[in-house]
């Protein structure tokens, strides 16, 4: 029986005074004055247009960006660099083509004794519903299946926080909806803290406990909207639509055009 250790999960405390990128076109201030607390087991979505800094923020939490002015804490521990306490899923599946699904999921578990490692791997493969494909290779899987393997890989290290960067953006619309249901099911089973970055407002309202709305130049959190609908959520429900509209208006409404980035923004991939 897998022990999730929910009671041991920490609160994520983020304070980013300043994060800048220097490039050929000068310095770009990607993030400024971010102050954010994410509660254990919470499902948080970050929405915003391109260039608003949402991916940068996620990468800082993941430990992939380390040069910034500020600090990120998980519980009482300051996070410096990457670690198994945070699992990351990117927009591309980034699976290793020479390894089976089994070995891809177990990639970060090399330090474990073999029996325990196999047991964990199998648990997470079953959790994402791919037990029949345990020994297939990535090229034999569809896009949605590959992303599920990536999710299993991210979860295999039993992270306290699961970070997803537009994970369903490259999937077709129907698969995307299925995957949204899947990620909720997985979250309800594992109760990890989840931070999911998306440009899809409907996705954010469907999934999140709270939606963080970001605006660019410099990247800041414009607003935080709690979503108090019970799950499973109905996308056509009046309240759902109302929440969605209010986020939409924040991003596009009167004066909202100013909150979309201009063209001079680096590509975050």
């Amino acid at each position: 029986m897998v022990n999730n250790g929910f009671d041991q999960r920490g609160t994520v405390n983020i304070e980013i005074v300043r994060k800048a990128f220097s490039g050929s076109k000068g310095t770009l201030l990607a993030l400024k004055d971010i102050l954010l607390t994410i509660n254990p087991g919470e499902f948080v979505c970050i929405v915003g247009g391109s260039g608003c800094g949402k991916t940068t923020l996620l990468r800082i939490i993941a430990g992939l960006e380390t040069e910034y002015k500020g600090s990120v804490f998980l519980g009482v521990r300051q996070l410096i660099g990457t670690g198994l306490d945070r699992g990351v899923v990117f927009q591309e599946h980034r699976l290793l083509s020479w390894l089976t699904v089994h070995d891809n999921v177990g990639f970060g578990l090399a330090g474990l004794p073999p029996q325990e490692r196999s047991r964990d791997i199998r648990h997470y493969i079953r959790l994402v519903g791919l037990d029949k494909f345990e020994y297939e290779y990535p090229h034999q899987l569809s896009g949605g299946m590959s992303q599920r393997v990536a999710i299993a890989r991210a979860l295999a290290g039993r992270p306290e926080v699961l970070l997803l960067d537009e994970p369903f953006a490259s999937l077709d619309a129907l698969t995307r909806m299925r995957m949204q249901q899947e990620i909720l099911r997985i979250w309800e089973a594992e109760r990890t803290t989840v931070v999911l970055v998306t440009h899809d407002i409907e996705e954010a309202v469907y999934l999140a406990d709270r939606v963080l709305i970001m605006s660019p130049q410099p990247g800041t959190i414009r607003n935080i909207l709690p979503v108090r609908l019970s799950r499973p959520r109905d996308r056509t429900d009046q309240e759902f639509v109302r929440v969605r509209k209010s986020i939409h208006d924040e991003l596009f409404g009167s004066g909202g055009e100013a909150y979309l980035a201009s063209e001079n923004v680096p590509d975050n991939s």
């Binding site: 993941a62 430990g63 992939l64 660099g81 990457t82 670690g83 198994l84 990351v88 990117f90 591309e92 980034r94 290793l96 083509s97 020479w98 089976t100 990639f107 970060g108 029949k132 494909f133 297939e136 290779y137 990535p138 090229h139 034999q140 899987l141 569809s142 299946m145 290290g157």
Partner: protein, 279 residues
């Protein structure tokens, strides 16, 4: 292949995603027919050639009939010469390739992984690479004499460059997005190389090995033509000196057969190592 057949092939591939069955019989027949088509021209050429030779249209000492060439090879085999000369040539290729490919692997790995090493070594190696291959032959014969050393050295040079180049470039061009996955798991430099960079570079590396092997064969021909007392190349020169066209043709065929066989083996080994990956 018609569009309909192409579509059928794609449908089969889609339908069987997630499994690796054998193709259905009608598709297997199409693959076979495709390959048989490739044999039509060579077989026709051989038949026409035989006919022209028998009719006396082709002078026998200029272009002997295929059957005459075949008989020559058989005679060489019976006399034990085939084993002696082919064996010598194959041994030279094998040793030279092993040495050159090893050196190429070593230098390729170093320059592939350490930018400093690349900036130091690559310009020099690229300059050496631009020397036309055959131009090395007289130089090596002068420095190392006419015995085995010069020949093996030449073959090693031939094998070295494709292996070095392919490995170095492949290692440098591993998808940075995959390397980020390594960062997530805090892999040490050694682990990054062993678990991410080398496997990712493997397909191109094997292409480099096949190229190196091909060049090794080319260099052994050059080395044996310019100064040897045994080997298939020696046979060729001997045939030329004594005006026996059949021996020259036989040598050409032997080079082709052994060269192709070694390439086929390397390819098969490569496919076994890479078989699981997507085409």
């Amino acid at each position: 292949m018609s569009t309909a057949e192409q579509n059928r092939r794609l449908e089969w591939k889609d339908a069987t995603a997630g499994s690796t069955p054998k193709p259905p019989d009608n598709l297997r027949r199409i693959y076979l027919l495709d390959r048989l088509l490739g044999w039509i021209i060579p077989l026709s050429v051989v038949l026409v050639w035989e006919l022209l030779a028998r009719l006396g249209i082709l002078p026998p000492n200029w272009l002997p009939a295929p059957t005459v060439v075949g008989k020559t090879i058989y005679q060489l085999a019976v006399a034990g010469d085939l084993l002696k000369h082919a064996g010598t040539t194959i041994a030279r290729v094998a040793i030279g390739f092993l040495l050159g490919a090893s050196a190429g692997t070593l230098f390729g790995a170093i320059t592939g992984y350490l930018p400093v090493a690349r900036k130091l070594l690559d310009p020099t190696l690229q300059a050496l690479r631009s020397v036309p291959s055959i131009a090395w032959v007289p130089l090596f014969l002068l420095w190392l004499g006419i015995d085995e050393t010069s020949k093996i050295a030449l073959i090693s040079v031939g094998a070295f460059f494709p292996v070095y180049l392919n490995l170095s470039v492949a290692m440098r061009h591993v998808d940075p997005k995959l390397l980020e996955v390594g960062k997530l798991y805090r892999l040490s430099s050694f682990q990054m190389v062993r678990r991410l960079i080398l496997p990712a570079a493997l397909p191109e590396y094997i292409v480099g090995l096949r190229s190196g092997l091909g060049l090794a064969w080319m260099f052994v021909v050059a080395a044996e033509l310019l100064g040897a007392s045994s080997g298939i190349g020696y046979l060729m020169v001997d045939g030329e000196m004594t005006g026996r066209a059949a021996i020259i043709l036989a040598s050409v065929i032997l080079f082709a057969v052994f060269g192709k066989a070694s390439d086929w083996m390397m390819n098969a080994a490569g496919r076994r190592l890479l078989g699981h990956r997507a085409r």
